[in-house]
Structure formats: structure tokens, C-alpha cells
């Protein structure tokens, strides 16, 4: 066994640490306060190659391992969760379907700019009324005019509405409803396409600098070349390409836990009560030790899932476990860290409050933790 990062991964981590510290940390609080996606930072990340992290060099990326991606996320997410969330949405679900299902000419046209970091990627899966079961989506694409006509509505879509967005790749049902078996396809819709509109930026409890919107498709026509892969693909086959998203949220979660641990630790060493730094009180020490321990366990599990993906082995169960464990740890740790801070931690402007608010989505996004439980139970043979 070897828990060390490879040299290339270490270099990447170093790069991200520097960028996070110099570029992200100084502006993160303001972007959160302004509820604005700082695309200038994402463009800068693109220039460093960070937007093509998981994409091979052939298509403009840097062909990094999943392990390296997790390591990079640890640095980015430690500085700011919103920017990390935008970055990971771009890097995973925003780009990978194009890599997996695209033809070479599609990759050249749409994937390369994503990987080179000139535009921001988005993927449209969730719908307002579909609940957490992707099978329930109502958006449909039907054959028409030598292409496809798309109608429907998507919700909670990240990265589609910024000044750096090119459009969206979305999932739609392609059967006519009469078939026994539902089929699904995904389609590239560029931003100025007729009939494609979107709502205002949603205002969240956390992730406030992330651009998230509802997207509306009203008789949107796209040519065949904007269909990605086989329109008769089953859903599971398709969704499996998104499983790395769970690793990504797990990585985001561990970066948050590390951030709140660092903040709580620093505060506890500085804050004095009853004449001593509160870090000397056993109750505080135990809390900090517990957070550090659960963090280290979550981290090891997350890297394990990433390793499995890199090794080309099945990682569905482990990715679900990593997501479940790391997000639950993050939400709990953020709450404990606020508790350690006392009143100051409850102020909206405090960094710990920002991370606390950001922590809430981790247990719900990218498949609720209820879903992760079911995925794991199924893998156990239940």
C-alpha cells in the first residue's frame, strides 16, 4: 500500500494550494456576500489547466488521476466551497459526458474549450418535480426537422448562467412514452439557442457564489450532431458515468471539514475563558480530536474510492460510502465548530458561519444520503 501522492499529484496540489491562498481566499467572503460567481477566478484556474483536470491531454486537458483531483479539491475547497462547487461541477458532470459519449468531432468542438478552460460546463439532470429518482424526468426530446426538439424544465443547474457559460448538456427521455422501456439521451444546447431560457440565479443558504438556476426548454431544436451517444441508452448506463460526482462531493466535504477544524482549532487556542485558552478544556479537546479523527477516516475512504476509479475497477459502492460518510462528517463538524466558536460563530460574516451554511447542501446534493444508503445496501445484496 502507498498513501502518498505521486509527484505529479503533489505538484498539482501545491499549485492549487498556492492559487487557493493567493487568489481565492482573499475574495471568497466578498463573492459569497455578493452572491456572485467569480468567473474571473475560474478563468484563471482554466489558464492553469485546472478546468481540464480529468480530461486527457488529447482533448485539451491535463489527464490527472481521480486521486489527484481529490487532492486538488482539498486545497480549493479549503479556501472556498462555492468556487470549489462550481469547479467540480464543471470538471465532473459538466465535462465527462462529452468525453465518454462524444464523437471525436463533438469532443473537438465542445469538450476542448471546456478542458482548456475558456468556457464553463454545466449538466442538466434534476427536474423540479422528479424528486430524487432520475427515472422520473419529464423533459423529452423527439425527432423533428432532421434533428431533435426538446421540451422541459431543469432545476438546480450549476454553471449554466454565468458570463463564462457555453450552454448545457442535458438529459432527456427519447422514447415516445409508448415503449415499455424508457430510453434516454443527452443533448448539447448552446446558450443562444432559440427557446432555451433560464430563471434568475437562485439564492441559497450556502454556496452563494455558485450560479444555480432553473433552465427552460421550449421547442428547442438541435441538430443530430448535438445528440451525445446512443439515444436508446438506458439510464443506469448513462448515470454510471456520473458516479465520480459522488467522489467529488466527498472531496468537497473533506475540504470543508479540514477548513472548519482549522478555524475551530485556531479560535480555541486564542479564545480565553475562565483564565485559560479554551483549547485546554477537555470538552473542547475531545470535540477537536473527534473532528480530526472522523476527518481522517473520511479522507482515507474518499481516496480509496478515487483509487478504485483510477484502477479501472468498480467503485460505485465505495463512492456512495465516501459521499455518505464525508458529507455527514462535514455537516456535523461544521456544527461542532460553530459551537466551539460560541456567539461569534453565529455571525453571518464570520468565516465559520460561511462554511456552516455551505455544509448543509453536502448531505442533500448529488443524491441525498438516503439514496447513498440504498446504493450501498443494494451493493451488499439487500
Amino acid at each position: 500500500m502507498d498513501f502518498d501522492l505521486a509527484e505529479r499529484e503533489l505538484d498539482l496540489r501545491e499549485l492549487c494550494a498556492t492559487f487557493a491562498k493567493r487568489e481565492i481566499a482573499p475574495v471568497a467572503a466578498q463573492a459569497w456576500e455578493d452572491q456572485r460567481c467569480p468567473t474571473e477566478l475560474l478563468r484563471a484556474m482554466g489558464e492553469l489547466g485546472l478546468l481540464g483536470l480529468l480530461i486527457p491531454e488529447r482533448w485539451g486537458g491535463i489527464g490527472m488521476s481521480t486521486v489527484g483531483f481529490v487532492a486538488a479539491m482539498e486545497e480549493i475547497g479549503h479556501a472556498d466551497q462555492s468556487i470549489a462547487a462550481a469547479w467540480q461541477a464543471h470538471t465532473t458532470i459538466g465535462s465527462l459526458p462529452l468525453l465518454t459519449f462524444g464523437t471525436d468531432s463533438q469532443r473537438e468542438r465542445w469538450l476542448r474549450p471546456l478542458a482548456e478552460g475558456t468556457v464553463l460546463g454545466a449538466f442538466g439532470l434534476t427536474e423540479p418535480d422528479a424528486g430524487s429518482d432520475a427515472r422520473g424526468i419529464a423533459t423529452r426530446a423527439v425527432r423533428g426537422d432532421g434533428g431533435w426538439v426538446i421540451n422541459g424544465r431543469k432545476a438546480f443547474i450549476s454553471n449554466a448562467g454565468t458570463d463564462m457559460s457555453y450552454g448545457v448538456t442535458l438529459l432527456a427521455r427519447t422514447d415516445d412514452g409508448a415503449d415499455e422501456r424508457a430510453t434516454y439521451g443527452s443533448f448539447i444546447v448552446e446558450k443562444d439557442t432559440e427557446g432555451f431560457t433560464m430563471g434568475p440565479k437562485m439564492r441559497g443558504i450556502g454556496w452563494k457564489a455558485l450560479d444555480t438556476r432553473e433552465l427552460y426548454f421550449d421547442d428547442v431544436w438541435v441538430p443530430d450532431e448535438q445528440l451525445l451517444g446512443d439515444p436508446a441508452l438506458g439510464l443506469n448506463q448513462f448515470l454510471s458515468t456520473l458516479e465520480v460526482g459522488r467522489i467529488s462531493i466527498a472531496a468537497l466535504s473533506i475540504s470543508l471539514t479540514q477548513a472548519v477544524l482549522d478555524l475551530a482549532l485556531a479560535y480555541a487556542k486564542e479564545r480565553r475563558q475562565f483564565g485559560r485558552p479554551i483549547s485546554e478544556f477537555q470538552a473542547i479537546q475531545f470535540k477537536l480530536a473527534d473532528i480530526a479523527t472522523e476527518l481522517e477516516a473520511s479522507r482515507a475512504l474518499t481516496y480509496y474510492a478515487a483509487f478504485l476509479r483510477d484502477a479501472g475497477r468498480p467503485f460505485r459502492k465505495e463512492a456512495a460510502m465516501a459521499k455518505l460518510k464525508a458529507s455527514r462528517t462535514a455537516a456535523w463538524a461544521a456544527s461542532e465548530a460553530v459551537q466551539i466558536h460560541g456567539g461569534i460563530g453565529y455571525m453571518l460574516e464570520s468565516p465559520i458561519a460561511r462554511f456552516y451554511c455551505d455544509s448543509k447542501v453536502l448531505e442533500i446534493g448529488e443524491g441525498t444520503n438516503e439514496i447513498q444508503h440504498l446504493v450501498i445496501a443494494r451493493a451488499l445484496g439487500c
Binding site: 475563558q273 475562565f274 473542547i284 460553530v338 460560541g342
Partner: protein, 417 residues
């Protein structure tokens, strides 16, 4: 032979009758989420801003009817202008108002902290000077207890009070003051004898905020986006010595006994709000078709069980408070114990319910509503607000530690947080 008594039900019938005859139906509208901020102010005793609101007249009418029939601060002793209700009666009153959808007319901290401090520890002159303006709503009090270095460790307070002729000159900073912008007066603790041991040498003072008060009240913004709390800077602010309640340097005792009563009062009714919040979660689960999900049900019922137990605890505290208002010190300690238990459980249950609500609701629950300012909807507000519950007024850890000493006689160790 049975010890049961049915007079509670007689009382309940009377109360229900009064509410039926006097209710102002428009006020049911106050339950709407858009009035949350207003409701918060009303809970603290003031209708602030929003005077154009058509409900304002309805509210005034409802208050007048209370005043006419003596239903303001009804649990205060009759000598203080109340009806001398015991807490079981209060609980019935609160339950019946809730059942009718009518808001309770509260005089806020004036009713729950200043009033008891004055009628338990004040002299006759202070009673006649301070109590009537609380009842008639002209004095709205805010609380000046916590300081930057005196939160959980309240006795560590640094604000000084120096005697100067007939006045006390007060300088220091207060934080974590609930809705501090709505008050015209403040009750505060300051150190009037720096030589005395920590818990002695502290005085409990009432002071004016309006006019040339030398008190700067600054709003701060909390996680919820609201300014539930403010901070105050006092720079040689003056209060007459006649405003010191319970005598100079005796403020700690005054505070402990009245805080105990306040917590006791909260304990009698705390389950009602929790039950309502849990009810909302259940409604939400039903609406989303999730009410049959087994694991969700298990979590819902866990909270329900804690609320049920709190309900019974509330009734118990009720009995004790009645005795304590008559000045029984041993009873005050018993209230403190029981009320702490209820507060600690309640805070954690509330956090759990708020968290459950968000999980039941999914992504939708994380999107804040449109509108000006920093809006949150009710469940979001509860999620964020509930985070403060184990911090404010002494952290849960400190409170459990105090309980370990007082209720179980474990060795004293104030530093053993």
C-alpha cells in the same frame, strides 16, 4: 380515593370563553411567514416599524381588550398588577390561544425578567415606578448581560458601574442582545465593586436608552440574515442609583433567581413550539409523499417522544414556579434544575427537527425565497436560528456542567467546560 382534580378544565373553559368573545380574527394572518420579523418583535413586546400594516389596528384592539380585562402579564402576582396565575394556568392560556390561532400579548423581557426582578427584589417605590409602564407597553426592555468575554462565563463581566453622587456611571460593551433595536430601556449587569469576588460586586440596573444616553446600539447580522442580536457600547452612561434593583453589589442573586423563573416559564410551554415545528415537518413529508418512509418515521417519532416528555416536564415545572413566585428559595433551585433540563433537551430537539425538515425537503429547502433583503423561509430560518440555541445564554456544555454540580452534587469545577 383519587388525587385527581378537575379544576384545570373549569379554568380552561373560562379562558376559552374569553377568547371566543374577544378574538380579533384578522390577527390569524400573523401566522404567515411574511410576518416573521413582526412576530419576533411582538414576542419581545413591541410593534416596530410596519405601522401601515392593516393588522396594526387589529393588534391595538386585541391589546386593548387584554388591558381592559387585566390579561396582560397575567401570571404576575396581584400586588404587581397581574392575576396571580400559576404556570399551569399560563400553559392553558397559551394552549388555548394557540388553538384559536390568536397571538399572545407579551411584554417581552419586561414581562419575563424585569418584572419578576422588580417585584421579587425591588422596593415599593421601584414597583410603582417600573411595573405599570411594562404592563401598559410604554417601556420595552432589552437585556444587557453578555459581553465579549462574558458569555458562558457570565460572572466574568467587565462593564463597570461607578457611583457618582446619586448616579451610577456605566461603561462597557454588551453583546448578544436579543432584538436590541426595539427597546427604549435596558436592564444590565455591571461590576460596581471590582475588589469583591467574581459573583459579588455586580449590580442589576435599569437604564434609559433614549435621549442623550451615551449608549450606542449597533445591529449585527446573524446567520439567518436577520439582526436578532445587537451589541451596545456604553460610554459613561448614567442611571440613577434608584434604578439599581435589589441593592448595590447584589445583582448576581437578583439575576439568578429571575433567570431561573424565565427558564421555568419557558419550560412550561417550550413543547408547544416544538410540536408545531414537528407538525410542519410531518405536513411537508406528507405533501412530498414521504410520510411512509420508514427511516424518516423513526426520526420523526424520536423527536415526538422527546417533546412528549418535555410536555410532562413543563407541567411539573409549573407547579414549582407557583411556589417560587411566593419567594421560596429552595423551589427556585428546583426550577433552575428542571428548567435547565428542559432547555437543554429542547434546544437539541429543535436543532434535530430543523435539520430533519431540510432533509425531508431536499434541494428546494436550500433555496431562499425571492424578495428584498436577506430572506429565508420559515424552515430555513429555523434551521439557522436553531444553531444559536445551544450557544446563547450559556453554552449547552456549561449548562450541563452547572447542572452536574447543582443537581447531582458533582465537584465544582467552573473551568471544566
Amino acid at each position: 380515593m383519587s388525587l385527581q382534580t378537575h379544576t384545570i378544565e373549569d379554568f380552561r373553559r373560562d379562558v376559552r370563553g374569553w377568547i371566543d368573545s374577544n378574538e380579533v380574527a384578522e390577527l390569524r394572518e400573523l401566522e404567515h411567514p411574511r410576518h416573521r420579523s413582526l412576530r419576533l418583535h411582538l414576542r419581545f413586546g413591541a410593534w416596530i416599524g410596519d405601522d401601515d400594516n392593516p393588522l396594526h389596528d387589529a393588534w391595538k384592539l386585541w391589546v386593548e381588550r387584554h388591558q381592559r380585562d387585566g390579561y396582560i402579564c397575567p401570571w404576575w402576582p396581584t400586588m404587581a398588577g397581574g392575576r396571580g396565575w400559576d404556570p399551569i394556568q399560563q400553559m392553558v392560556w397559551t394552549e388555548e390561544l394557540a388553538a384559536a390561532g390568536m397571538p399572545r400579548v407579551s411584554r417581552g423581557l419586561g414581562e419575563h425578567l424585569v418584572g419578576p426582578a422588580v417585584f421579587l427584589h425591588g422596593n415599593d417605590e421601584q414597583r410603582s415606578r417600573f411595573l405599570p409602564p411594562i404592563i401598559d407597553g410604554s417601556d420595552i426592555y432589552i437585556q444587557g448581560f453578555s459581553e465579549p468575554d462574558a458569555g458562558s462565563d457570565l460572572a466574568n463581566l467587565r462593564t463597570t458601574g461607578v457611583v457618582d453622587g446619586d448616579d451610577l456611571i456605566i461603561t462597557g460593551q454588551k453583546v448578544w442582545t436579543t432584538v436590541g433595536l426595539i427597546g427604549n430601556r435596558m436592564f444590565l449587569l455591571c461590576r460596581t465593586n471590582p475588589q469583591a469576588p467574581r459573583h459579588r460586586g455586580i449590580s442589576f440596573v435599569l437604564i434609559d436608552l433614549v435621549g442623550d444616553a451615551n449608549i450606542d446600539v449597533r445591529p449585527t447580522r446573524q446567520m439567518t440574515g436577520e439582526s436578532e442580536f445587537t451589541e451596545e457600547f456604553l460610554t459613561e452612561a448614567r442611571a440613577p442609583l434608584a434604578n439599581v434593583i435589589g441593592g448595590l453589589d447584589n445583582g448576581w442573586r437578583v439575576t439568578m433567581s429571575t433567570l431561573g423563573l424565565e427558564r421555568g416559564g419557558d419550560a412550561t410551554t417550550a413543547h408547544l413550539a416544538l410540536a408545531a415545528q414537528l407538525g410542519n415537518v410531518i405536513e411537508m413529508a406528507r405533501a412530498l409523499g414521504r410520510s411512509a418512509e420508514p427511516v424518516l418515521r423513526q426520526e420523526i417519532i424520536r423527536s415526538h417522544i422527546d417533546i412528549e416528555l418535555m410536555r410532562f416536564g413543563g407541567a411539573r415545572v409549573g407547579g414549582i414556579i407557583a411556589a417560587a413566585i411566593n419567594g421560596d428559595v429552595a423551589m427556585q433551585q428546583e426550577i433552575e434544575r428542571v428548567a435547565s433540563a428542559s432547555k437543554l433537551t429542547g434546544a437539541e430537539v429543535e436543532q434535530r427537527i430543523a435539520d430533519l425538515a431540510i432533509r425531508v425537503r431536499g434541494m428546494e429547502g436550500l433555496v431562499r425565497p425571492d424578495g428584498d433583503g436577506y430572506r429565508t423561509d420559515q424552515m430555513q430560518y429555523e434551521l439557522l436560528w436553531s444553531r444559536a440555541l445551544t450557544i446563547q445564554g450559556g453554552s449547552a456544555e456549561i449548562q450541563r456542567n452547572i447542572l452536574a454540580e447543582r443537581a447531582l452534587g458533582l465537584p465544582k469545577d467552573p473551568a471544566a467546560v
